[in-house]
């Protein structure tokens, strides 16, 4: 003969008493947790993407043509296809700034028209193989030699790579035939969607295409700063001495997105705060009703020997059950929303990095604690009130 009657089974029976009322509270906690999980996933993902990008970029400062900072961030953070150019003599001017340890440059070319190229719209990045320190870590193991003229390597997420599904194919870029000789490892940056060629090819491309680029122009300069120099001061010195450029430190890349994110976070925070207040109020209302309905039962329980802590414990298990079910459903719902709706948000659409499992777990834990915690806070006052009732008073309240 087994005894399956326990405090937990008793609590489950109590929770099931009023299914509609319980469902309403579970739904409120679900929605609150879903909003929280969605918001955290959203914010976390953008932040993580910016952090990954800046840490993997390998440069302390980027230098772009004046007014092109946003476009550069679009390329580096959001995988957008954009081009901007500055004259090559700026390379020499930047190199003379005190504190610059080494630098390299890249040129962004956009395959705008199917007339020019045999690939879908893509960003073609021409890089200087001699000075490069941006691409080198990612090329290692993929191609242990320099890219030859007429050779290219594609980013991990490149639409061209995906559509072709293999390498070692010939394609036409700006009227020139290129052989694809490798696929880059996933970088988690805008580089994942680009096609890379050596800048030896630029003169031929300029000759054979209508691109708005003049011979010798570059798009972006990446610089490493000597130890002991302030990145911000060096960036300011570049901007002060070279009027044609904007210089952005690694930490400041994505600042405009972060500022936008701050506004979005504010809206999310307000929504979460309102949902929390509503949920607390609902939990308070539900458990006040529960306390009133069950005061006689509590009196009987106390009369047959249950302590105040036992009554509290039973009610808390009930609250935890409701909170746990609501929070879990909210986590599933919120995570699903964040995945499904990710492509609907411009800010997320082009960000290549997704949350890692451990980050998703952290968001889920926060969602669970918050959802369940809100339920407990709401139920606290009614439970404390009924706990303090003298047994006879509670029994008479029927």
């Amino acid at each position: 003969m087994t005894n399956d009657f326990s405090v937990l089974s008793f609590a489950i029976k109590n929770v099931k008493r009023r299914p509609l009322r319980t469902a309403m509270l579970v739904l409120a906690i679900t929605l609150l947790t879903a909003v929280l999980v969605f918001a955290l996933s959203f914010i976390y993902r953008v932040h993580a993407s910016i952090q990954i990008m800046t840490s993997r970029l390998g440069a302390d400062i980027i230098v772009v043509p004046t007014g092109s900072r946003g476009a550069a961030e679009d390329v580096l953070l959001e995988n957008k296809v954009k081009s901007f150019y500055m004259d090559q003599d700026i390379l020499e001017k930047v190199s003379k700034i005190d504190g610059i340890e080494k630098m390299t440059h890249q040129t962004y070319l956009v395959t705008l028209s199917s007339l020019c190229c045999s690939v879908p719209e893509s960003l073609i990045i021409a890089f200087d193989q001699d000075s490069d320190f941006i691409m080198k870590p990612w090329l290692k193991g993929k191609i242990d030699r320099k890219l030859g003229k007429g050779e290219s390597i594609v980013g991990h997420e490149s639409s061209f790579n995906i559509s072709v599904g293999l390498v070692e194919v010939d394609s036409v870029l700006f009227g020139n035939v290129f052989k694809m000789v490798g696929v880059l490892d996933k970088t988690g940056t805008g580089l994942d969607n680009a096609v890379f060629i050596s800048d030896d090819n630029i003169s031929d491309i300029v000759k054979n295409s209508d691109l708005p680029i003049k011979p010798g122009q570059v798009s972006i300069i990446f610089a490493k700063i000597k130890e002991g120099f302030s990145h911000r001061k060096v960036a300011n010195a570049i901007e002060d001495s070279i009027i044609e450029v904007d210089a952005v430190t690694g930490k400041d890349i994505g600042r405009s997105i972060i500022n936008t994110l701050r506004d979005i976070s504010g809206i999310f925070s307000m929504t979460i705060a309102l949902a929390s207040i509503l949920s607390i109020f609902l939990a308070w209302t539900v458990f006040s009703a529960v306390a009133n309905e069950r005061s006689q039962e509590v009196g009987i329980m106390r009369a047959v020997g249950a302590k105040e802590s036992h009554v509290m414990g039973l009610f808390f298990i009930e609250v935890l059950l409701i909170g746990a079910v609501g929070s879990t459903a909210g986590i599933v719902f919120g995570t699903g929303l964040s995945v499904l709706l990710a492509k609907s948000f411009t800010i997320l659409k082009n960000i290549s990095s997704d949350l890692r499992a451990v980050e998703r777990l952290a968001v889920a834990v926060i969602g669970f604690v918050a959802g369940t915690g809100i339920c407990i806070i709401g139920a606290l006052v009614p439970i404390r009130r009924i706990k303090k009732m003298e047994p006879l008073t509670a029994i008479k309240e029927r």
Binding site: F5, A303, V304, L392
Partner: protein, 228 residues
């Protein structure tokens, strides 16, 4: 030393500015194993006195001693332990929890105990089934209160009072809803428990015949106690 002793216990309620004396300086001493009946008109203070003796209503003044210990000198947990270990309650109403089956209602007094066995090493569940058999409800152990008649609910509540092997049963008109035959059965059951196990009974009743079966009769009149 009396098992249960009260010393000028009073209970005064204030209702709308008016003071109601429900129990007025009652001093009684009840020995272990006594079977006491308590009679009196409605509102005479019987139920209030029973609640005071059972540790579920603190008196306005006076003291209640069980085996020499002042029960209202105990803190809330101590009082709960007193009720859990010493007292078996039978209320005026069936007092079953609607979401629990008959057997689960019996297990309620031992639900929060750390052990799943009683002092004799018997599983609480076995004891619950045994008690339900003793009150004639062995075939209704998994029935919910809504599936039981008023009389059957009463018998479940009676059985529950014995679940924790109490030393003192406080029964407030426990046979009110029962037919004559079942009432007689229950009274025999009480008598057996009283004689065989030495359980002390204080039985509140309006039924003078039932009261007459008790070894000692007391009467409440306007909150005061009179021995008969």
């Amino acid at each position: 030393m009396a098992q249960l002793q009260t010393d000028e216990v009073s209970m005064i309620y204030a209702i709308g500015g008016e003071q109601i004396i429900a129990v007025d300086k009652v001093s009684i001493a009840i020995e272990k194993g006594e079977f006491v009946s308590l009679v009196g008109h409605s509102g005479s203070g019987k139920t209030t006195l029973l609640s005071i003796l059972g540790g579920i209503a603190k008196p306005s003044s006076g003291s209640v001693r069980f085996e020499g210990r002042d029960i209202y000198g105990l803190n809330s947990d101590g009082l709960s332990e007193y009720r859990s270990e010493k007292i078996g309650f039978m209320f005026q109403f069936a007092s079953l929890l609607s979401v629990l089956t008959a057997k689960e209602n019996l297990l309620l007094p031992v639900l929060f105990k750390p052990s799943r066995k009683d002092a004799d090493g018997k599983l609480h569940e076995e004891r619950a089934v045994e008690l339900l058999n003793m009150v004639g409800l062995g075939d209704r152990i998994n029935a919910y209160p809504s599936q039981l008649s008023g009389g059957q609910q009463r018998r479940v509540a009676i059985a529950r009072a014995f679940m924790n092997d109490p030393e003192l049963i406080l029964a407030d008109e426990p046979t009110g809803d029962l037919d004559e035959e079942t009432e007689a059965d229950m009274m025999r059951f009480f008598s057996d428990m009283n004689k065989a196990q030495g359980v002390t009974f204080i039985l509140v009743t309006h039924n003078t015949e039932l009261a007459g079966q008790a070894g000692r009769r007391m009467k409440m009149v306007h909150g005061k106690n009179e021995e008969q």
